[in-house]
Symmetry: C2
Subunit: 456 residues, 2 copies
C-alpha cells in the first residue's frame, strides 16, 4: 500500500483540536529549579507570586505534577477563531533545494498578532477576567506579544498597559497603532513613568531598552495599580504550558498521516515557541517512547544557551522579579542596537534550560545577515514573509535540509514558523540595502555582563 | 435530525478545491459590451490586445462562451500553499451584536500579499512564463496587487516592474520593501520614467496619482520593452475569471454544510473581489436555479456605481488603453487625497457593470469614517484587523445584521473579507487621532470629470 498522500497543508478538524494543555515538567526526572525570592533566596510562595501574577497562573507556574490542564471552553472558542494553525509540507522549498529531506513547518502567523503569542495571551487574559481584575500590564519587544495581549484584553474587555522596548517602538510605529486599534495604551521603555525606568535612564542615558527593563516597568506599574496584575509573554512555565497547543496540534496532524519527525527546530528567545513546539515530542523522549533531535536556535548577538551560564538570575534588568535558574547572559546584558527584532531576552525559560543542561536538546547560534538571507530564500519559494525571529529556525532548517543533499538522508524536519514579518520591513530594508551588520559579543563583554549575577 | 454543527472555520480538503475557474459571462443573456479600439471605435482584436497582454489572457478576456477553464496544475500547486482560504462563521460577532442573523465571511487575507490578489497574480505570471516572456509590468494602488504579483513573479522567476500610486507609495513605504524582498522594482507614479507620466506631471504638478495614471505608465513601459507584457490586477474579465476561485470555494464550503446565503456583500473598486465572490451564486441566479441579494459596496469618495454613468470610457488616465463600457466617473477622476487606501479606480469591471445595469445587483456607497469604525468594531471581536477596502463590506454586513435585530429575520449573510490592514496603519492612526475626514464629491465635480468621456 502506498503512503497516504500528504497535503500541502494539514488542518485538523475543530473536533481534533487539543482540549488540554500539556505540562512537560510532569514527565521530567530532573525538574527545573524553583523560583527564588530575591531577598530571602527561599522558594517563592504562591502568596508572594500572587501579588504580581493572577492566581490561577501562579498555580500553573508552580505545578510540576499535573500533566494535563483542560483548556477552558471560552479559550477553546477563541482558539477556533484562528486555530488550528496549518502544518505545512514545504513541497516547493524541497523541490527548489533539491533535497531528499521532507520539510514541515507549523505556521503560527495567521492571526493579527502575527505570531504564536496569542495562544498564551488569551489564556492569561481569561484568568485575569475570571479573577475580576480591571486590567493587566506587560512588556513587548518586537511587538507581537503586546499586540496579542491587546487583542485578548479587547475580547474580554480588560484594560491593557504595554511597555514596549524603545528600539522596537521606534522601528515599528505601526505596531503601536495596531495595539491602539485594540484599545491598549503603549509606552516606550525605559520611560519616566516608573521608578525603575527613571533609574535605568539615569544609569544608561540613550539606552534603546531591553526586554528585561520593560519587564521591570510593567511589574512596578501592576504592583502600584489596584486591580492590575502583570502578565508575561515568554520565559515563564505557565506560558510554555499554554504554548504546548502548538506542539500538540503539530503532533496530532503528523500522527494523522503517520509522519514522525527526526529533527525538531525552533527559535529561542525566552523559549515560549520552542517549548510549546517540542513539548509533546520531548514528553515522549522523556518517557522513553520515542527519540527526536531538538535544536534551539538563538541569535549570535544574544546567545544565552550557547555562551551563557546556568545559574540563578533575575528575569528583569531592574532586579525586582523573582530569581530563576536558567541559562543567562546576566540580567544587565543588552544586545547591540544593530541586532534586529526579537529574541533579545538575556535568559531562557528554566524548563528548557534544565533540558539543555541534561543534554536532551542542542543549541546553535546564527548571525543575522544569514538569518535574513534564509528568510528571503524561504519567502520567495514558500510565499510567506517570515518574522526575523522565525527566520532563525528557517536558517537551521535550511542547513539541515542542505546537509541531506550531501548525505542522501531522507530526514523529516519539523520547524516552528512562529510568525510573519510584516512589521519588520525596516530591518528587511537594511538587509536589502546591505547596511545590516553582524554583531557577536566578545568574551569580555559577556564576562562583564555576568557581574550582576546574584549570589545564591 | 439536527443540523450539522457548523465549525468556526470551514476549510475544504485539498481534493475538494476547485479545479476549474468559472466564467460568469457564459451564463449571461446580456453579455458585457466588447472592448473597443480607442481610435477606430471597433471591437479590439485578439492581435491588437496581444501587443499589450499575454496571449492566453487575451483569449480568456474575449471568451464569453466557455463556462469553465481548467486551472493548470502548476497554479493548483501554488494555490495549495495558501488556499483553500477559510469560510468563517462569525459566531463571536453575532453574539456581540445580539443579532439573529448568521454571518459568514470568506477570508482571503492569509497570505503575504495580504489579499485575494494573489489568486490572479499567480495565474497571470504563469501564462507570461508559458509564453516565454522576460517579465511583466503593472500598477498597484494600496500595494496588495503589486505584492501579489511580485510573489508570483519570484515563484516563476520573471522580472516584475511595478508602478505604485504615489500617495500609497508615500503612505506605505513598507509595502515597497515587501515587493523588493520578492525581487520587484517599484516606482512611484506618476513618474518621469514614461512619456505619459511626464505629461500627467506637467498637467497636474503635485498630483498624488491615481490607478488610471499608473496603468498608463505600466502599459507604456511594457510596450517599449522587448519580452514584456502588461498585467492588471482588477477591472478585466480575465481577473474576474481567476478570482472566481473565491466564490467557488465559498459555495463548495457552504454546500458541504447545507448553508444558503440570503445576502452576498463585497467591496468594489475595479470589481475583482466582488466579481469573484459572487460568480457561482450569480450564475445560479442567471440560470434561474436560485435567488440571492447581491450588494456592491464602494467608497462615497469614488462612487462609480452609485453616481457614475454607464458608458464607454478609458480604463486609464493617459487614455492609451482600450475603451470599456462600464459604470464610470470619467478616466480623469482622481479621488480626494483624504481618501484612504484602495478602491480608487474611476470605473468598474464591464461584466459587473452590465449586471448592475440589468438590476441583478445593488450598490451602496459608504463614508470612510464609518468604514474605519466598522473595521475596529470587527477587529475587536473577530480578531482580524481588516484592510480598509474589506471594511467597506464589513460596514454593510454590520448594517444588515443590525437590521435583523429589528426585524427578527434570521438572514444568512456572506461577505468577502478581502485582506488584512497591516500596511494601513497610517490610515488607522488618522482615524484614532480623529483627523480623518469624509469626502463626498459634489455633482459639479462629477459632471466635470465626465468631460473626458470619449464619443462612441
Amino acid at each position: 500500500m502506498p503512503d497516504p498522500v500528504i497535503p500541502y497543508k494539514i488542518y485538523l478538524q475543530e473536533n481534533e483540536m487539543p482540549t488540554a494543555w500539556y505540562n512537560l515538567r510532569a514527565d521530567m526526572k530532573n525538574k527545573p529549579a524553583p523560583l527564588l525570592d530575591p531577598e530571602t533566596k527561599q522558594p517563592m510562595t504562591k502568596e508572594a507570586l500572587s501579588a504580581v501574577f493572577c492566581e490561577e497562573l501562579v498555580r500553573q507556574e508552580l505545578d510540576e505534577d499535573t500533566a494535563y490542564y483542560p483548556i477552558p471552553q471560552e479559550i477553546c472558542d477563541f482558539y477556533k477563531m484562528y486555530r488550528p494553525s496549518p502544518l505545512v509540507r514545504a513541497y516547493c522549498l524541497e523541490k527548489k533545494l533539491g533535497t531528499p529531506a521532507k520539510i514541515y513547518y507549523k505556521f503560527e502567523g495567521n492571526n493579527t498578532s502575527g505570531s504564536h503569542k496569542l495562544n498564551s495571551a488569551i489564556a492569561q487574559a481569561y484568568y485575569a477576567k475570571q479573577q475580576g481584575l480591571v486590567g493587566v500590564t506587560t512588556e513587548t519587544g518586537a511587538g507581537q506579544w503586546g499586540t496579542a495581549l491587546s487583542m485578548a484584553c479587547s475580547y474580554f474587555e480588560l484594560d491593557c498597559k504595554v511597555y514596549m522596548v524603545k528600539c522596537s517602538y521606534e522601528q515599528k510605529p505601526h505596531r503601536r497603532e495596531v495595539m491602539r486599534t485594540y484599545g491598549a495604551s503603549v509606552t516606550p521603555s525605559p520611560s519616566t513613568e516608573t521608578e525603575v525606568g527613571r533609574r535605568i535612564l539615569e544609569m544608561h542615558p540613550g539606552t534603546t531598552g531591553s526586554l528585561g527593563c520593560a519587564i521591570s516597568e510593567a511589574v512596578e506599574t501592576a504592583s502600584k495599580h489596584e486591580g492590575y496584575r502583570y502578565v508575561l509573554g515568554s520565559v515563564l512555565n505557565q506560558v510554555m504550558l499554554h504554548q504546548s497547543v502548538i506542539g500538540l496540534e503539530a503532533k496530532a496532524a503528523m500522527d494523522k498521516y503517520g509522519i514522525k519527525p527526526d529533527v525538531i527546530i525552533g527559535c529561542a528567545g525566552g523559549g515560549s515557541n520552542l517549548g510549546g513546539l517540542i513539548a509533546p515530542f520531548m514528553g515522549e523522549k522523556l518517557r522513553g517512547e520515542a527519540d527526536y533531535q531538538f535544536i534551539a536556535v538563538e541569535p549570535a548577538s544574544c546567545p544565552s544557551l550557547t555562551r551563557g551560564v546556568y545559574a540563578y538570575d533575575f528575569c528583569d534588568t531592574g532586579m525586582i522579579c523573582p530569581l530563576a535558574k536558567m541559562y543567562t547572559l546576566g540580567s544587565n546584558y543588552i544586545p547591540s542596537p544593530s541586532h534586529a527584532g526579537g529574541l533579545r531576552f538575556h535568559g531562557m525559560n528554566s524548563t528548557l534550560s534544565q533540558l539543555y543542561e541534561d543534554g536532551l536538546m542542542e543549541a546553535r547560534s546564527v548571525v543575522q545577515t544569514d538569518v535574513f538571507a534564509a528568510a528571503e530564500e524561504f519567502a520567495r519559494v514558500e510565499g510567506i514573509l517570515p518574522a526575523p525571529e522565525s527566520a532563525h529556525a528557517i536558517k537551521v532548517a535550511l542547513d539541515e535540509a542542505k546537509k541531506c543533499i550531501e548525505t542522501g538522508e531522507e530526514k523529516t524536519i519539523l520547524f516552528g514558523l512562529t510568525g510573519t514579518g510584516y512589521f519588520d520591513m525596516v530591518s528587511y530594508e537594511k538587509f536589502h540595502n546591505g547596511v545590516m551588520s553582524d554583531y557577536i559579543p566578545t568574551d569580555d563583554e559577556l564576562l562583564e555582563a555576568r557581574d550582576t549575577l546574584p549570589k545564591v
